[in-house]
């Protein structure tokens, strides 16, 4: 049986790990290579790097960061942020990413998912889906361009379409919960899970083992967390021990 995965996320800007709520008020949170090695030691099952650089220079740094992290990392590495076309994905894979996360570009041009999966395999293609609750009615829409644009699409429908088009996994972020530490949006996870056969990584709002147990129960296969690990509040090992005690199967 597959174990449930714990995935620390590094937001990287200009070669440094940064943190902030909804990309506002970014603060330095260390060296990505040191962080990556430390999380693998703690028992992380995978690592995600999100490049939040806003400039071409920053993007070039991200490729170097991926190569440097790969040289020390023996667990899977997903890299997202700014992947617009096949060549962007290819560059990251060549530098040592195992999967690439695609968000805005896939919404703008869903064929990109198919092109990628046909050329590098579905297992390398992660749809990064940022969902936000509709105002005044049920359901979730999609936000793109780091939250600056909202699309008239239902998040579960988009997830199902992305699966058909070639995505191998969905990184599902609740824009309402991100950075709040109020827990994952379990209704969102259940709604997407009901329409998708591919694995779901839940993201946004996790603040401890109890939140993760809720996300797994709702249908998540993995959980992403950033600030709880960066701040040193807890470690992956401590979280996994608590999950195991709650009856969740984890890799130890």
């Amino acid at each position: 049986m597959l174990t449930k995965r714990i995935i620390p996320c590094l937001d990287v800007k200009d070669g440094r790990v940064v943190k902030g709520v909804k990309f506002q008020g970014l603060r330095d949170a260390g060296d990505p290579v040191e962080r990556a090695a430390e999380y693998e030691r703690q028992g992380a099952d995978e690592l995600v790097i999100l490049d939040v650089s806003a400039t071409p220079e920053g993007r070039a740094n991200a490729v170097e960061t991926v190569a440097a992290v790969r040289s020390v990392l023996s667990i899977p590495l997903t890299v997202g942020g700014g992947v617009r076309k096949f060549e962007d994905a290819e560059r990251l894979l060549a530098a040592g990413a195992d999967k690439v996360g695609i968000n805005t570009a896939a919404v703008d041009r869903p064929e990109l998912l198919t092109e990628l999966s046909e050329r590098v395999g579905r297992q390398c293609v992660v749809l990064s889906l940022d969902a936000a609750r509709h105002k005044g009615r049920d359901g979730w829409g999609i936000v793109t361009k780091s939250g600056t644009e909202r699309k008239h699409m239902e998040a579960p429908d988009w997830a199902a379409e992305a699966e058909r088009r070639g995505a191998g996994e969905i990184l599902l972020t609740s824009w309402d919960r991100d950075g709040t530490r109020e827990g994952y949006d379990t209704e969102l996870i259940a709604a997407v899970s009901a329409q998708c056969g591919i694995p779901i990584i839940a993201s946004g709002g996790g603040n401890g083992a109890h939140h993760m147990t809720e996300a797994f129960a709702a249908g998540a296969d993995a959980v992403l967390a950033a600030s709880i690990f960066h701040d040193g509040d807890t470690t992956v090992g401590v979280i996994k021990a608590k999950l195991a005690a709650e009856g969740v199967e984890v890799r130890t």
Partner: protein, 207 residues
Amino acid sequence: MTTTAIIATGVANTASVAAALRRVGLDPRVTADPSQVESADLAVLPGVGSFGVGMAMLSQTRNDRVVVERINAGRPLLAVCLGMQLFGTCSDESPGVAGLSVVPNPVTAFPEGVRTPQFGWNRVVRVDDARFTEGYAYFANSFRFTKAPEGWEVAAADHGGKFIAAMQRGHTLACQFHPELSGAWGLGLLRNWVERCGVKTKETAPC
């Protein structure tokens, strides 16, 4: 100096497997040249896009014959993920395409209702008295062997039923999982294979 050839597949991501081999002290080169693949002390057949693309690539570069010869001669070969599936007769992934047929078994899809692709860490257990260290391995696959070939030592895992996680014979090691992405356990497995092939690894070589 030990030579290690990673067989170029055009589309496969070889950075992770190269990085892991470097960590155990090897100096791998990515090549599609069959004479280099043939002469290398150690050869690696990585995962590629699909069964059909993988077989087409191997036959175009004339590496299909080289790989089969290495396996039959018991010369060092590591096959990863789709690389292992190519050992079979055929695959549900690419109907009508013949595999290397080193083992007489087909590669089939996971049953309906099981999360596919299988993404994540699964427990690998030895079958009978096979020499495998048990542990958690990282998988990323939609197809697999379900039947153990005769004459091979086998390890298994469970995802909607038992399937073949790894098999070894002579100096051939084939893994359905990714040892290069399976943490310290995966590196240990790679190190054991390299040493069984008579090559000293970084940890054991004198500094």
